[in-house]
């Protein structure tokens, strides 16, 4: 019986204890979050590098579930420079989406909470620490400074409102001062044309169910771009679309980004998309950044065994193989993970220190960083 419990079965007593403990923690955090009139000094900070649009600094986002604490994002640090595209790769459940939702403060509360770390968002004249920004300020930032394109175009638009209405809503909210209804409509039509919808007047009056997936994703992009945001989070924007549309959507994103000079955080598990779009790449595994660097560094010299495995498991044109490589084993259960390299059970290149604590971040170059003991030793020798 005891053995079984260890494999993830909870007794009623344990479950009650966990819920009680969770409630205590989340209630406290919620209380702090729900205060009225938070002084600005609490969440205004400074960027470490003013050329960055966002800096994630040691971000910890936990989910306090009834089966235990899930450390979805556990000490993630990376930055998104202004005007650049940062690709975040990693398999399902590694914390990519949670990182981006943390930036929007759209986590499923009260279970999901940012417990530690800073997200510094460059608003031009001010810098906000999103982890501490109150709800009312967030509403001015969302859709205006930071906007998000979700992975499910089929369900991300409200089925009972017309397309035009859904786009106009954002413009009215953030950009509507001194604008007449006609101005807003004109801007909406312009946006629809910008994202490559030919029949913009017609689509303006349509409902979401009358459009295809690709068209809906274009509408989502139009909504995201409506207020010229500084950062666009694209959470697997092409996953639900077929390949021909994928290319169009990516082209569109890239062109539009250059037009309004914003940064893109591109979340995907499609290495092809990353290779095409990203300037910098962040590789995540089980809630941590295992490797980050410029696109060239990651693709030419993948260093972490997980990244190497990822590169090896993608098909290459012109090379004949019987079977694609797949990384052995599976992702560890995220509940109450101990502090060691999470990849070591699946790693084929383990070295001695791997049994110990989580490896520190090692710089291979100015921009290329990796968390793996294999490089620690090399460094040590040098």
């Amino acid at each position: 019986m005891a053995k079984k419990k260890a494999e993830g079965y909870l007794s009623a007593k344990e479950s009650r204890q966990i819920s009680k403990r969770n409630r205590k923690i989340t209630d406290e955090l919620e209380k702090k979050r729900k205060r009225k009139n938070v002084p600005e000094s609490e969440y205004v900070t400074k960027m470490h590098d003013p050329k960055n649009a966002v800096e994630f600094d040691n971000l910890h986002t936990y989910f306090f579930t009834d089966t235990g604490t899930v450390k979805s994002v556990d000490g993630v640090s990376f930055e998104v420079p202004i005007g650049k595209t940062v690709g975040i790769v990693g398999e399902s459940g590694c914390g990519k989406s949670v990182t981006s939702l943390s930036l929007m403060q759209l986590l499923q509360r009260p279970q999901g909470q940012i417990v530690e770390g800073e997200i510094r968002l460059n608003l031009g004249d001010k810098v906000y620490d999103i982890a501490k920004t109150p709800q009312e300020k967030m509403q001015n930032i969302r859709g205006n400074m930071v906007s998000m394109i979700f992975q499910e175009p089929m369900t991300s638009l409200n089925p009972v409102f017309r397309i035009g209405r859904q786009i106009e809503e954002v413009i009215e909210l953030h950009d509507g001062e001194g604008k007449s209804k006609e101005d807003i409509k004109a801007r909406t039509i312009e946006l629809l044309e910008m994202v490559g919808i030919a029949n913009s007047e017609g689509v303006y009056k349509m409902y979401p169910h009358e459009l295809s997936g690709g068209m809906r994703q274009r509408v989502m992009i139009a909504i995201a771009l409506a207020c010229n945001p500084r950062i666009i989070i694209a959470d697997e924007p092409t996953t639900a679309l077929d390949v021909t549309i994928q290319a169009q959507i990516l082209d569109l994103l890239r062109n539009l980004k250059d037009k309004i000079n914003s940064s893109i955080m591109l979340i995907t598990h499609d290495l092809g998309v990353i290779a095409e779009m990203a300037d910098y790449i962040v590789v995540m595994y089980a809630g941590r950044v295992v490797e980050k660097g410029t696109a060239e560094e990651i693709f030419e010299h993948p260093s972490h065994p997980y990244t190497i495995g990822l590169m090896a498991s993608k098909p290459v044109v012109g090379k004949k193989v019987d079977k694609l490589y797949s990384i052995p084993g599976k992702v560890p259960n995220p509940v109450d993970m101990p502090n060691y390299c999470y990849f070591k059970d699946r790693c084929e290149m383990c070295v001695g220190p791997c049994a110990g604590d989580y490896p520190p971040e090692i710089s291979l170059s100015e921009t290329h960083k990796v968390s793996c003991y294999r490089y620690c030793e090399e460094k040590g020798e040098k």
Partner: protein
Amino acid sequence: MRKYIGKRIAISVMILFCTTLIIYALLRCLPASYVENMAMQLASKPGAKPYEEWLLQLNASYGLDKGIVPGFFTWLAGAVQGNFGDSWKYTVPVLEKFNEVIWLSFAMGAIAFVLELIIAIPLGVIAATKQYSKTDYAISAGALVGISLPTFFFATILKLIFSVKLGWFDLYGLVGRNYAQLDAMGQFLDKANHLVLPIITIVIVSVGSLMRYTRTNMLEVLNADYIRTARAKGLSEKKVIYQHAFRNTLIPLVTIVGGSLPSLFSGALITETLFSIPGIGYTSYQAMIIGDIPFSMFYMTFLAILTLSGNLLSDILYGVVDPRVRIA
């Protein structure tokens, strides 16, 4: 749209035909026979004909000597011309009796229904938005009490508190003792006063399920992707809930509301009987236990028509609130 409605009406007529046939057959098979009782009474008079002779004679005069199917078609032939025959118990034309009692039930039902909507929908929405909070638990527990405890229990409790202890209302009946002496306004107020407790009973009993239904739907909608999109746009929580989520919650609500329209007439049966309010429920109950086939037949057919039109109505309303099922 017109073609669709036409088709739906044609189907409804077919269903109505089958339903009435089944009801007629069931009513003819009921153990409570009005004719047998009457024959028994007549035969027991001194110097009367024997029971069997009376039975034959009465069966012939009430049209019960024919089989079920021919009997049904005789009834149907009358019914399509609007002639539902005379009520055996009340000895007046069915429609006359119906017209006399229905408006009272309708007024009661309509007031209760509006109150239900006013109470249930906001509470359901609040419970959903504050899921697992104390408010949510209180509302859900209240709804559960309303759903689980039977009508007669609540009616009795209300009577005990408001009639016996506080003496605010009469125990039962529609009019007070000195009704005849009152002027028109006073008579109206007297009736209204007597309807308060029955209406409260109806509301308490039926408000729970609607509230639970609203809560469940709202929760489902609040977890939808487009709600996250709405939040990502920077809309205030109020707008997210009352514009984006609520419009979507309305879709399934319309079905249940449309479907519950006929129950306003039939559901009042127990309450009306408990409070001795001479509405359609009470009247049809009296007709049913005595085996009054014409009145029961009419009441059942009426309910069937209401149910069918309620469904049709909710399907049409569905199209109004949900653009996806709108038929061009």
